[in-house]
Amino acid sequence: MPEQSRNVTFNNVSKLYATATAVDGVSLEIAGGSFVALVGASGSGKSTLLKMVNRLIEPSAGEVRIGGEPVRDEPAHLLRRRIGYVFQNIGLFPHMTVGENVAIGLRLAGEKHNDARVAELLRLVELPGDIAKRMPDALSGGQRQRVGVARALATGPKLMLMDEAFGALDPVTRDGLGKAIRALHDKMGLTTILVTHDMAEALLLADRVLVMERGRIVGDATPRELLAGKGGAAADALVAVPREQAHRLAELEK
């Protein structure tokens, strides 16, 4: 039975470290099927909040639920197999071919003969099929991240967590991959949470933008609302930069 899109709920979630509070009592509901961007400066707690969903980080207080089920009720490794996870440093397994990397989730689930599925996934992320036989170190940064996305999608998860997934890529690759991800999101009916420090990226890709500052959500609006100045002071400051850049570019074109 395919996994259905489900809500992700944060219920008064906090993460405290010895010297700092990374996440400070966040309560939040993310609707199934939405594409949400989590924006903030580094150290604002956005990555920590994201990693509490697939339990790479355990909260100090509060709970996270997916589809109403607390994530802590399930062994972490089984939970993670149902959630796609893509992050900035990609972490392709250097001793496995691209094909083996993409198929690893299927292999963990005990499935064999995954060549056809691997070819399909590579097509999905717009990579040539013959790349499956190559080793990760023979690929460009953009190709590697596409493989990372294909690997995350292999088991057909309905929830995707992306942590600065495009952070290390050049602007052209970054734009192309962003569009591809949005297209996949729509095509496969995913729920996607994208952590990024780039407001322009968030505005262009997401349905809903959450702004984090010092462990709290300080802005929550649609891109249209944000551009209309309805997202609050912190959000306005972040939106001002790409808006001003866009105006200057428009000036130049005149």
Partner: protein, 507 residues
């Protein structure tokens, strides 16, 4: 030359087996320990600290330490644990193999790319899956380098297992060193170095195969290694029942007498093998525990070292006392004296002694503080030395221990002025040494005595084969035989010297 290399295949096989077994045991212990150490910092600190500590113990001492440890362990569980031979060698060498494997394993795991680990967790791998699918293959090349180091160290240190009675290529090196047979030393060194290089090359090939992800290369090179071990295993199956083990300490006379005993037993239909180069302290225990069936010791050695006696009765009383004690305390049979004595005898260069007018240890005492003393490796620790010091108030300007051969060299070259020579040594006459008398009787008699293991106590056929040796070897014959081996030119092997000695006995 060919004679020197004739024992190489047999010893090479033993050497390879020992080193391989030690490496395997080291791997079995250190691999899980490395994983555990990488997961838990405290465990890691303790494990690495212990392994480093082991490395600081000289390998010879580590081997020697296992003898008393295993002996007391054996007593604790009511016997049955062999304290000599394979087991202590295996344990000591395994400990030696720990550090490089452990260190490389822990370092390799600690230096893995955190992104790869995060991906493994993010994909939903369990700890075990992460270890086998990701960590193990990525650490393998680093780990393999550690295993190679361990293999080379183990093969090198295995030469020292000779001293605890485990045959290895060290047999050639130690025997060669004692009898100044450099061909023998060279044969041992070349074989050991060749073995180390070959094993290192095979493991290196496997390492390269892992790095290049070429499975065929990995399994091929490991397969060759395994085949080598299997070939080595063939002659090493437990000796057939009825094989006699003849012990010998580490000097020429012992090597020769072991062969004389061996030839007689072979003539009587026994299969024999030799455990040569045993430490003086180890030899008697090896006999008492049955690891060795028969060997020659000296009455005074047992009297002072094993029985801890400091009185010095007449020679025959010592032999009788030793016989009684050996039977009562250990069930060891003293078959009889061979007919000569090999006592510690203080000796000087003849001309030097004459010039100084020294004829006895008593004459030596007043000038001793201006003279240098060279001894064999154990004399300074022996109670005879304490007894001599007590009786004469001897105190030398310096006292240095040497291998026996070099002790004589030190005296003849003038580096030393006095040595405790061996009275049956052919070099006393050959080097024109003056033996000093012992007017106060501080040094006990050292009759060469034939000692039999407890299980040979009632073995009439065995004893009958050896009885003709009792009282049959006069000291002059022994000196000549020793000199055949010890002299610098036209050296004979201990086996040839033994044949020569036997011809003299037959007449």
């Amino acid at each position: 030359m060919t004679a020197a290399f004739s024992r190489v295949p047999e010893l090479l096989a033993q050497h390879l087996l020992l080193a391989f077994a030690a490496l395997l045991l080291g791997l079995v212990v250190s691999l899980p320990l490395a994983v555990f150490s990488a997961r838990n910092k405290t465990v890691g600190r303790i494990a690495l600290g212990f392994a480093s500590l082991v490395q600081t113990i000289p390998s010879l001492a580590l081997l020697a330490l296992f003898y008393p440890i295993l002996l007391s362990l054996s007593t604790l569980v009511g016997g049955g644990i062999p304290a000599l031979g394979f087991l202590p060698s295996l344990l000591a060498l395994s400990l030696y193999a720990l550090l490089p494997i452990l260190r490389n394993g822990v370092t390799g795991l600690a230096n893995l790319d955190p992104a790869v680990i995060e991906a493994a967790d993010g994909m939903g791998m369990t700890k075990t899956q992460k270890l086998w699918l990701v960590e193990a293959p990525l650490v393998a090349p680093v780990l393999m380098a550690g295993i190679r180091t361990a293999a080379v160290w183990t093969i090198g240190a295995a030469t020292l297992s000779t001293t605890v009675g485990q045959p290895s290529l060290g047999d050639l090196i130690f025997a060669g060193l004692q009898t100044q047979n450099w061909t023998l030393v060279l044969a041992g060194c070349i074989a050991a170095a060749g073995l180390a290089l070959a094993v290192d090359a095979l493991l290196g090939l496997a390492e390269y195969g892992i790095a290049q992800r070429r499975r065929g290369l990995v399994w091929g090179s490991l397969g060759v290694l395994l085949a080598g071990v299997l070939v080595a295993l063939a002659p090493a199956w437990p000796a057939p029942r009825g094989t006699v083990t003849i012990g010998a300490k580490g000097f020429s006379e012992q090597y020769i007498l072991a062969r004389v005993i061996g030839h007689r037993l072979e003539a009587a239909g026994y299969k024999v093998r030799y455990r040569e180069g045993l430490g003086s302290a180890v030899a008697f225990s090896a006999l008492a525990s049955g690891d060795v069936d028969v060997y020659v010791d000296y009455s005074g050695t047992i009297w002072t070292n094993q029985m801890k006696r400091s009185d010095v009765p007449p020679r025959q009383a010592i032999v009788d006392g030793v016989a009684e004690w050996a039977r009562q305390a250990h069930g060891v049979t003293l078959l009889g004296s061979l007919g000569f004595e090999n006592a510690y005898a203080f000796a000087m260069r003849g001309a030097d002694a004459k010039r100084r007018g020294i004829r006895s240890i008593a004459d030596l005492a007043p000038v001793a503080p201006t003279l240098n003393f060279a001894t064999d490796v154990e004399f300074l620790e022996r109670s005879e030395w304490a007894a001599v010091k007590r009786a004469y108030g001897l105190s030398f300007k310096s006292a240095h221990p040497y291998q026996p051969t070099f002790m004589y060299r030190a005296l003849s070259s003038g580096t030393a002025d006095v040595i405790p020579a061996f009275s049956s040594d052919g070099r006393i006459a050959a080097d024109h040494l003056t033996v000093l008398s012992d007017p106060r009787g501080a040094i006990p008699g050292y009759d060469a005595i034939l000692l039999l293991a407890p299980r040979r106590a009632d073995d009439i056929r065995f004893q009958a084969a050896l009885r003709p040796l009792i009282g049959a070897i006069p000291v002059e014959k022994m000196r000549e035989a020793n000199y055949l081996v010890d002299r610098d030119t036209d050296k004979k092997s201990p086996d040839e010297a033994a044949r020569w000695l036997e011809r003299g006995l037959a007449r």
